[in-house]
Subunit: 82 residues, 2 copies
Amino acid sequence: MVRRISGQEDTAGHLKRLGDAVRAARNARGLSQEELADAAGIDRSHLGKIERGERNVTLLNVIRIATALNGSAAGLLSEAGL
Amino acid sequence: MVRRISGQEDTAGHLKRLGDAVRAARNARGLSQEELADAAGIDRSHLGKIERGERNVTLLNVIRIATALNGSAAGLLSEAGL
């Protein structure tokens, strides 16, 4: 099954890798999805989709999530191997 | 003047910093906007807007641009101080 991501295909699994890194960092900090979403100022269901690699997340939201995790966007992407 | 970026305000200038880093890396490699856009597989006018910090670029496009610059997305964001 080919999954369409916001009109672009994520054939290399990049969004999944980012999502996995977000979830790992969130769990390492003992935060629920709701707590992280609130801290980042984004919708909880949107965060869930980002963690599952179902959204082509924007840079500003990557920065918001990384900041809420007390890190940097570059660090988060590095953890994701991106 | 408050500039709206894809429905979100970039009050901290993050998109501008990314754009400046893209332009610097592009110039360092002697590439025109058109050459980089072609290599990244994105529209030239869209790349121009990204370089000027006028678009909330998506992660997949950051990865495409970084790859076309022979780097990583994490490295590009690190150069941008993000």
